[in-house]
């Protein structure tokens, strides 16, 4: 049962997972190294200043190309836009914008007047604004992501989710509980052992103030869910481990803010660090399991937690 982005009564919008609505994604600027991001924005800032201030007679096409190329090198678009195709679609969709230009008889000796230049600039702005709207629509339909073993990590300014289905055969599931049952365990290791899960999933380091956890597991129509919730009142940390079936893939939606997702590789697996205000999540996939650690902790603390999962004692 794949979940779809689709209003229940409308059938026009489609994407993956049951996320609430179509949203503007962050343009494919993945930055595992934050220094790249700063540099990218420095160049972007410089480009913007130049572009908005340059006089038409000083406009330098080569400089424009250099800026665009440099920005693309620093932060390439994951889904490059075919601007020519977009322009052709724009022509087809809004022919009236071009009718006058194409059908008007050409004067014998064209003299550019201030009025016609203004009209032309106005039309150019209209064209640019309309193409911008079209591109935003185009981009909105394409969630940004990285293909990892058949899964596609997608995120917008508000949510993160995986899409796709596993490329490899999933291990046979074993549930010690019937659908609808739940149980509590002394430790998350005990719970994993009960469910016969032997993957490395449990951190050995936690931030100060987080010392004890309550561990429980449930089996529902969605599958298995193991939860490790910190007992400390001042600090919150939750580890959830849930499985998914081969048809759907992981369909959980994770809330986020507009900040970039950070990719962190550890134990041969890409971990996605996702911020939502002061809350920090990390999620990754192992076999048919999706793991999420979340808490009101810093990114550095989250990185340390993730690394501790794979530390050999």
């Amino acid at each position: 049962m794949a979940e779809f982005l689709r209003n229940s009564q409308n059938s026009g919008i489609s994407s993956t997972n049951g996320m609430g609505k179509a949203e503007e994604p962050i343009q494919g600027h993945l930055t595992a190294d934050p220094s790249n991001k700063r540099l990218y924005f420095e160049v972007l800032d410089e480009f913007t200043n130049w572009f908005l201030s340059v006089a038409p007679e000083d406009f330098d096409e080569d400089l424009l190309d250099a800026y665009l190329e440099e920005m693309n090198e620093l932060s390439p678009l994951e889904n490059p836009i075919d601007s020519q195709a977009a322009l052709e679609r724009f022509h087809e969709r809004f022919p009236s914008l071009f009718e006058e230009q194409e059908s008007a008889p050409l004067p014998a000796n064209p003299q550019p007047s201030e009025r016609s230049q203004r009209r032309y600039l106005g039309r150019l702005t209209t064209v640019a604004a309309t193409i911008a709207a079209m591109m935003v629509t185009l981009i909105s339909a394409q969630a940004l992501g990285i293909d990892v073993f058949g899964f596609f990590a997608n995120w917008t300014n508000e949510i993160f989710y995986f899409s796709g289905s596993p490329e490899t055969t999933q291990p046979t599931k074993f549930y010690p509980l019937a659908v609808g049952e739940s149980a509590e365990y002394e430790s998350v290791e005990d719970a994993l052992s009960e469910f016969q899960i032997d993957a490395a999933l449990v951190p050995s380091w936690y931030p100060a103030g987080i010392s004890s956890f309550t561990v429980s597991a449930r089996v529902t129509d969605l599958g298995m869910g193991i939860y490790m919730v910190s007992d400390d009142e001042d600090s919150s940390l939750t580890l959830s481990i849930s499985d998914f079936n081969e048809e759907t893939g992981p369909t959980t939606i994770i809330e986020k803010d507009s900040s970039n997702v950070i990719l962190h590789e550890a134990g041969g697996c890409v971990h996605y660090i996702i911020n939502d205000g002061k809350w920090c999540n990390a999620t990754w996939i192992v076999d048919d399991l999706q793991c999420v650690i979340g808490g009101n902790i810093t990114n550095d603390e989250m990185l340390k937690i993730i690394d501790s999962i794979y530390e050999v004692p």
């Binding site: 979940e3 229940s8 322009l87 591109m135 969605l222 869910g225 759907t248 939606i253 999540n281 009101n296």
Partner: protein, 145 residues
Amino acid sequence: MKKIFKIAVSLTLTIGLFSSLACANAISARTSQYLNTYVASISAGRNGTIAITARVVGKGSLDEIGVSSIAIYESSDGRNYAHYGTFYSSDYPSMMGSGAFYDQKAFEFTGTIGNTYKATVYCYGADDSGSDSKPYYTSPVTARR
């Protein structure tokens, strides 16, 4: 013409950039204080039974966490859907719990065998400072014998 087109595209990208930044700023103010992750599904059991299950994880322990309401839609041809009904946690306590997470069957009903159903599940979290709700749209499922 190539130059003009480049200017148009550049202007477009600039407009898009500023729109993105403006949008990003507006969105960042809407960060959920209560909901962290959520997922829901609709499944068909025997004798036309349709069940809606939700898994919601909060940002810490919450006074209320679960599903505030479920809007169900029904179709006899799999294409055109009509509103079947909306069901609220105030009438169905199994839709709501408390603590750090909610993971259980939220609602069950008996559908018409052969008809298709889908749901909009409103995942919910609240404490004494406020509340938040996010919709999750399930894929359709067909009621079976």
